[in-house]
């Protein structure tokens, strides 16, 4: 229980830290309004032109609720790559090594606290915007399922972002990896458009990649909740978490050893 207490305390202090500037917190959540307005205009027109109620099995309100969840995930992803790469580059990493906590678990706790607020405010504001334009959200019994899947998605994103951050051991400049990762989420993860719209072969590939489990999965589950879908999504998330978590632990250990030999 004690180690858990430790990271719980780290999580709490970061919550306090985030709340030190409440106006900034709120200010950040307005961007989702812009995105939802654009998506609404685009898809309203597209459904109008198609003249059908559903496209690829998704209704217009369903599409907007899907995009709202996807955008929430995108906007509240952990920004841990920037922090980690800075710590690697400035040698700050060496100084956290002599505290009795695990470096990755530490970042996991702080970035979860960071994301939690964003996730809540984005989902709330985005939800209000979509409700006003397209009516009530999908059935409430699916929300807890989606919420759990959101946490899984968040953890997957954490692993990938932390891996990008650790790339700073190899190259100073990691922002291009961040951009490309983000765009992979946009297309292969289904942030801009549900995977159903991709050409068949690409869809088959994309559905098996971690990006889809970190983005498309939870958003799709939210508009079409089912227990089966939930279990298979969770299983997929778990497999990728094991793979990516393992890769992350490996990368970190190698990096820390390199640092201990070469200095900060």
């Amino acid at each position: 229980m004690r180690p858990f207490n430790k990271y719980w305390a780290i999580f709490k202090i970061q919550l306090l830290n985030v709340m030190a500037y409440p106006s900034e917190l709120l200010g950040r959540s307005f961007s989702i309004i812009i995105f939802m307005l654009v998506f609404a205009s685009l898809w309203r027109t597209a459904y109008g032109i198609a003249g059908t109620d559903t496209l690829q099995g998704i209704t217009l309100p369903g599409m907007l609720w899907y995009l709202m969840i996807a955008e929430t995930i995108e906007l509240s992803r952990p920004r841990v790559s920037t922090t980690i790469s800075r710590q690697v580059k400035t040698g700050e990493l060496a100084y956290v090594l002599n505290k009795p906590y695990n470096f990755l678990a530490y970042h996991f706790s702080t970035s979860f606290a960071d994301s939690l607020f964003r996730m809540l405010t984005n989902a709330l504001i985005g939800g209000i915007v979509v409700s006003l334009m397209f009516g009530s959200p999908p059935p409430a019994w699916g929300w807890p399922l989606a919420a759990i899947a959101l946490i899984g998605a968040w953890a997957l994103n954490f692993c990938m972002m932390a891996l990008i951050g650790l790339a700073a051991f190899i190259t100073e400049e990691i922002s291009s990896f961040e951009w490309i990762f983000q765009k992979a989420l946009f297309i292969l993860g289904g942030m801009m458009i549900p995977l159903e719209f991709l050409p068949g072969w690409l869809r088959t590939v994309a559905e098996r990649l971690p990006f889809a489990y970190a983005m498309y999965g939870p958003a799709r589950l939210f508009i079409d909740p089912s227990l089966e879908g939930f279990y298979s999504l969770l299983a997929g998330q778990l497999v990728w978490l094991l793979v990516l978590g393992g890769a992350l632990a490996l990368a970190y250990n190698r990096g820390a050893r390199y640092l201990a030999v070469n200095g900060g």
């Binding site: 430790k6 830290n17 030190a20 700050e92 505290k99 009795p100 900060g264």
Partner: protein
Amino acid sequence: MPAIKVTDLKKVFKSKRKEAGMLGSLRSLTHPEYKTIEAVCGLSFEMEAGELLGFIGPNGAGKSTTIKILTGILFPTGGDASVLGYTPWRDRHKLAYQIGTVFGQRPQLWYHLPAIDTFTLFGKIYELDELVLKRRIGFLAETFEIGDLLEIPVRKLSLGQRMRCETAASLLHSPKLLLLDEPSIGLDVVAKQRIRDAIREMSKLENVGVLLTSHDAGDLEALCRRVIIINHGQIVYHDKVSNLKRKYLTSKLVEVRYAAEVNQDFQIYGMETLKVGRYGVKLRFDTKNTSVDLVMSRLSEKGSLVDITISDPPLEEVIARIYEEAA
């Protein structure tokens, strides 16, 4: 058992040498060339439990590297070290519960939050009992005179106040050994004095060993009984502070300003004149032969004094003298 025992410690850094141009960058990817820097070369010393040991030397002498090895942050290239019975780089985690560290240029307090929040966090990180932590904070608040600072966001504290909070934070888990890397850097005279007093007090009360690096001779005069001077990764001097003082820190620099213009062949018996300006004079004297009292009275005989500063010669000068004697 000594608190710290270091034998023939070595640390060599390798850094990739990069050639100019795109081709050069490519070549350094396939055939990397390294240049080596010997940061620490064959250091050996011991420190008893509860001792106050000063570790001084100019920037880049290898002080910080040594401290980093002793906390387990860095692996040494060669040699051996034992800290509180642990080999730091092998038992870093266990050692972390037993030592406290302050890196003057690396704040550990959360910048936007009051220090008390970081203290509570550290309580959890070091797995302290809640009641114990509370009592401990009370005690440290008194010793470091930070009781009324704890609720203020750290960003609003002065550097001196912040360093006192930093040092108190590093003592929360009652470590047996405190490693301080440049704790007084950037502080004014009063702030330096307050933090030194608190550290000395803690060492006396709890028998905490203190290893302190600094490039300020004042730190070790005020705090330490023994001193190690290193330069270029090697020990150039290792003795009691009292001996060092007697041998090297005997000369003092004096700068005076008079109300009226001074004579250009300004001379005082027992003092060496270094520079004469229009109103000001710079002199040196040796405390072995001439007392400060005497200097003061002789200076004031020469005219009405406007300003006077007495200071130690800079450490670089002392080291240069130690070198000269060794050669």
